[in-house]
Subunit: 293 residues, 2 copies
């Protein structure tokens, strides 16, 4: 497998830092440069040997790189691509860790038109409450899934190369279209986050919100864990995957309307069936190792 | 503090069994009888010394008891009260662990009219995925909350007695009206469960449900953990606390409608503010020991 001579992380955090650490452990990278705007965070990345050098200048940092990993929120990726475009080596591979893929594909097309054969958008599925370079870990991708959504222009050899690096990180690598990716992740990631925000805000709107929150227990805790997620990141995702998300939110409104009618009807058997359908599916889902992902 | 000579558990499971074990540890109970319909479960309770005797006959079991704890789903409580009414000692205290309280209060009024001074409805807040007598544990109520919702007829001395038993179990004891209880728990327990069922069913309705579930990860796992809850128990709760739940579900529909409009508007700042409100509140909620409840 081809080793990376110079890997540049644009955005040095949990996702990109753990990718760098895993490649280091696999002896598949010689030199890692961490780029970012938060100097404290970069310094920690350097102290922890997540990266070997740091920079606040993306354009300068990518010179001579053979792999660039864009690990920023999706909202910052376009400006970064524009900045680095004139400075990339002709055969530098560019990938990313963005949670949405149709919009990121459009950014590659818009800002790196000369580089497209070497661009392979990706999405490592490794959500965590933690963030920042200090949270990076060698084993984050062990057994985790990584979805690659190659561009029509992506070179097959380059796709294979990116796949092999992820495999070396211990990940299971999947490939699908950006559209299929965005629909799937709208349904099982983006929409649950938005529903959790909406639920939390509905509690806050109550006249007795403080008292309610005071008695909230473990069910509430788990249901709302993702409501504590980062506002900027989730604004970006909501706007980036707007169409799939709106479809799913509307389907959830319909679902909620049906549930309201069911509760109003006092039809115990129908209500049991409704709950049982969800309950059996959730128990089934939790059975294999999936709950550990 | 007054010790219990004969405690009868109607329904021998996690909630009632842990109450019995905690009282045993505090040396506040002499003899515990477990009543239930599942003989395997009763035998396990006996083997594990959660109870000292077992019975499948509630009416016979309560004879001579000075404390009865009704630990069944709310839907079974009325029939049990009716069954035991003629066999209770005049001063036998009756309490329960039901998750809804207005409907349980009505059951006490309907089926135990002679006993009301000695009846103190309660709700120990100790949700768990586990159930059954085998899951009962001495320390389940350590630091947990127990809400008592006395009847207008409940005797002050009796209320104090029940409160002291719970305190001896390590619980924090609160007192409020059944109405206030039901509104609070609709908002932070019942409705999250129903929303989680509805969300799960909306995923199951997708043409690509299997593929979506295959890529679901930790956010989905936590958001839907409560969707795996017991259908009969949650049907009972949905029907028992129908009015508060319908109010809250409708408020959540409104909230979802606002969120859809917000996503449609592509207004990044408003969307950030919306998410931030939820996120800050959730982070604040998780700060103290509450997350451990």
């Amino acid at each position: 497998m081809q080793a990376v001579k110079k890997l540049v992380l644009l955005g040095t955090g949990l996702i990109s830092g753990s990718f760098a650490l895993a490649l280091k452990r696999a002896r598949l990278v010689e030199h890692v440069v961490g780029v970012g705007r938060n100097l404290d965070n970069l310094q920690r990345a350097l102290d922890l040997n997540v990266v070997d050098a740091i920079s606040d200048d993306a354009a300068h940092a990518v010179v001579g790189a053979d792999l660039v990993f864009i690990g920023t929120p999706v909202g910052q990726m376009g400006a970064l691509m524009q900045k680095i475009a004139p400075h990339l080596s002709r055969d530098c591979i560019v990938t990313d860790g963005g949670s949405t893929k149709q919009d990121v594909a459009a950014l590659y097309q818009a800002y790196l038109p000369q580089q497209l054969a070497y661009c392979v958008p990706g999405h490592p599925i490794a959500g965590s409450d933690l963030s920042g370079a200090a949270a990076a870990q060698f084993g984050l991708y062990e057994g985790r899934r990584v979805v690659l959504t190659p561009l029509p222009e992506s070179d097959a050899v380059v796709i294979e190369q990116v796949r092999n690096w992820w495999l070396a990180c211990g990940a299971q690598v999947y490939q699908m279209s950006a559209l299929a990716h965005d629909e799937i992740f709208s349904s099982v990631s983006h929409v649950p986050h938005l529903l959790s925000f909406a639920y939390m805000n509905s509690v806050l709107d109550r006249y007795n919100a403080a008292e309610c929150l005071d008695f909230a227990a473990s069910g509430f805790r788990d249901f709302t864990r993702i409501a504590g997620s980062h506002p900027d990141m989730w604004r970006d995702i909501a706007l980036a995957n707007q169409s799939a998300i709106l479809n799913d939110l509307r389907a959830n409104m319909q679902q909620l309307q049906s549930l309201i009618e069911l509760v109003e009807s006092s039809d115990g058997i129908a209500l049991t069936n409704y709950i049982q359908r969800a309950s059996l599916a959730r128990i089934e889902w939790g059975k294999p190792l999936k709950g550990k992902k």
